[in-house]
Every structure is written in C-alpha cells, then in structure tokens.
C-alpha cells in the first residue's frame, strides 16, 4: 500500500515543470495544482521536524503562501521541488529557533504540549500505537546523536526522499559537503541496532 502510494507520488517531472511555468505566468489554478501535489510531502517534512500536527499544518500553510508570493523569483522551473524544500527548511529552522527561545520562558506545562507521540494516539490505522510511539522515540534518539547538518541531510535524503542534488540546492551547500554529512550520518545509523531491528520487525 505504502509502496503504491510512494509510486503514485512520483510525478512526471515535465508535468510539474509545465504547471510551474503556468503558475509563474500568473495562473492561480496551476499553483493550486502544485499545492495539491506537494502539500502532503511538505506537511510530512515539517512534521518529521516538529512532531506536531498543528505546527505542521500552520507551517505548511506559511510555506505555500511564501512560495505563492515569491514564485516569480524562481528562475529554473525544474528546481521547483528543491526551491520549495528550501523555503520549508528555512521556515522550520526559524520556527524551531523561536520555539527554543520561547521555551526559555515557558512553564513545564508548555513543554508537555510538545509531546510528539500524543497526536498519533487517535490514529490506530497508521500503525499500532505502541509501535508508532516506539518508532518516533528511537528515531528521535538516533537523530539526537547527529550534528545539525548530519540530521538535516539524513532526514532530507531518507525520509523526505530528496536526491543529493536537490539536498544541495535546498541547503545551499555543495554536493560534496552533502555527501560528507550523509556518509557520517549513515555511519552512525549503522551502529543503531535497536532501530534497525525495529525497522525490520515493523515491516514484517
């Protein structure tokens, strides 16, 4: 099922480019179609980093509005996806920075609101509740061991499914820098036996 959805999400690049060109020319309908194509992907991208449905929805909204307003600055239509992710990466980074700043002055109750696993409790159809909780706990534990860049590159590559070129464009780093961080993050992933075991059991 997931595999089918994944393949269904793989869009024809030329169709996307055509829509981007129409949107740049001023077509609102074309942009709405682009939103329909990328909303889920961007929502998940934000969710992986915030673990909050509400924040992910708000930020997804902001990201597409920002893209709508600045679409005319996009020169290479084939780079729309990485351009969109670049907006998203910057927006999420800004959000997390502000959230950390606010956390300095927040109470203990406020911190509990950000508990990442609560929002999955009402979604038994996604995966077994306990498995989901354990999954995010282990993923979070692993990601905490990575540096900021290693974490960003790893998530973009293996959870957001961006190519190395797209990651390079999204982060504004050279491909060789991306590969270096990716190599280090995979090296650390190799030693994570518990999460690898969970992944193998989860699919079985």
């Amino acid at each position: 099922m997931v595999q089918k959805e994944y393949h269904a999400r793989v869009r024809d690049a030329s169709d996307v480019e055509a829509l981007v060109e129409q949107a740049i020319a001023g077509s609102r309908t074309a942009f709405e179609q682009l939103v329909g194509l990328f909303q889920g992907e961007i929502f998940r991208m934000v969710y992986y980093r915030t673990r909050s449905t509400m924040d992910a929805e708000d930020l997804t909204q902001d990201i597409f509005v920002q893209a709508f307003k600045n679409l005319y600055t996009l020169k290479a239509t084939e780079r729309f996806r990485s351009w969109l992710f670049k907006i998203a990466v910057n927006r999420v980074r800004d959000f997390i920075r502000k959230k950390r700043f606010r956390a300095l002055f927040s109470t203990l109750d406020d911190d509990n609101v950000a508990e990442p696993y609560e929002e999955i409790r009402d979604r038994p159809e996604a995966l077994d509740k306990l498995m989901v909780q354990d999954f995010w706990k282990q993923v979070g534990s692993f990601l905490d061991k990575l540096s900021r860049m290693e974490k960003e590159v790893f998530i973009l590559r293996f959870m957001d499914h961006l190519s190395i070129k797209e990651i390079s464009q999204s982060l504004g780093k050279s491909e060789s820098t991306v590969k270096t961080h990716l190599y280090r993050s995979i090296q650390k992933f190799r030693g994570e036996h518990s999460i690898r075991q969970l992944l193998q059991e989860g699919i079985a």
């Binding site: 994944y6 909303q39 679409l71 995966l127 293996f158 499914h161 193998q200």
Partner: protein, 184 residues
C-alpha cells in the same frame, strides 16, 4: 563469476556506495556489480534506510486542513522588465552615490557656480570703489558736513555777499582799529 574474497568491499566502502556508488573506484564498482555477497550487504543497509522512510510516512498524520492561498493571481514573472527595472534602479542608486560623494566639488567647479561668485565679487568691488570715490570727494564724516565750507548750505552767492561784503582797500586800513588812522 566468482568474486575474490579479498576484494570484498569493507563497511566504509559499502557506506560510500550507499551515498554515491558512482564515486567508488572503478575496480570496486565492477566488483560490487558482480559480487552477490557485497550486493547483499549493501542491500541490507539500503532496505533499512528505505524502511525508515516508509515507516516515518506511515507513522505521520495526514494534513487535515487545506492550504488557503492569498486572494489574487501569483505575482507575474516580469522577465526582461524585471531585469530592466533592476538595472535602472541600480543605475539610479549608483548616480545618487556619485552625487553624494562628488556633488559639492562638482557644484563648486561648475561654470554657473564660478559665474555667480565672480558677479558677487565684482559687485562688492564696485561698491567698495564707490565708497572710495565718495571719500575722495568729501572725506569728512557726515556729522561735520554742516559746518564744512564745501557743504551745500542752500545759500546763494548773492546772499553771502550781502552778509559778508568783500573787503575794500580804501575803506578799511590795515590798522583801522587805531584812533585817527582813517584820517591819514
């Protein structure tokens, strides 16, 4: 093909292959493409990473809210117009900088500026020369002009002669004050 065990990729090489297989040295790439053991080792990593992405997607909620875009059309790409406006803006900004940096010297050195200054200096010189001419004609300050002979009193020559008749030699002797002098 039987792969030589000594040529098997080590873990670091396998990780490099995961990042970018094309960057492996050619012999290693050739070995990887033919060695079932190495391919299997690489696939284990690849599958784990692929499962991670799949599970993350399944363990995420779906967006419940649709994105609402601002009213209106996306801002048009102006193409050449954008470039033209940017160029014009840059030119204006550069001109402003040049004027601010060199404006004062330019104004000072312009012919119009020189002409104004020359006219003002000539006017001052002319005024100064007028004052000198007046002093040559009458060097006395105005306060002494009333008692000055040269001052214009409004009295004509006839009135002056009436008041101060010219001295006649026969009527007034040199020593007219002495007794008996007229009779001599």
């Amino acid at each position: 093909m039987s792969a030589d065990k000594d040529l098997h990729l080590d873990e670091d090489q396998l990780l490099k292959a995961l990042v970018e297989e094309a960057e492996l040295p050619l012999p290693l790439r050739q070995h990887l493409s033919t060695c079932p053991h190495c391919r299997a080792s690489k696939q284990i990593f690849e599958q784990d990473l692929a499962r991670l992405g799949q599970m993350a997607e399944r363990a995420s909620p779906s967006p419940r809210r649709q994105v609402s875009l601002p009213v209106g059309e996306p801002r048009h790409s102006t193409g050449w117009l954008w470039g033209w406006r940017t160029g014009l803006g840059a030119a204006v900004a550069a001109a402003l900088v040049v004027i601010l940096m060199w404006g004062v010297p330019i104004l000072r050195d312009t012919p119009m500026g020189n002409g104004d200054m020359l006219a003002r200096e000539m006017q001052e010189t002319e005024q100064f020369m007028t004052e000198i001419d007046l002093l040559v004609e009458n060097a006395l300050p105005p306060v002494y002009s009333d008692i000055s002979v040269e001052s214009d009193t409004g009295l004509d020559e006839e009135f002056i002669q009436f008041m101060l008749p010219p001295i006649e030699e026969e009527s007034i002797s040199y020593d007219s004050g002495k007794r008996g002098a007229l009779l001599c």
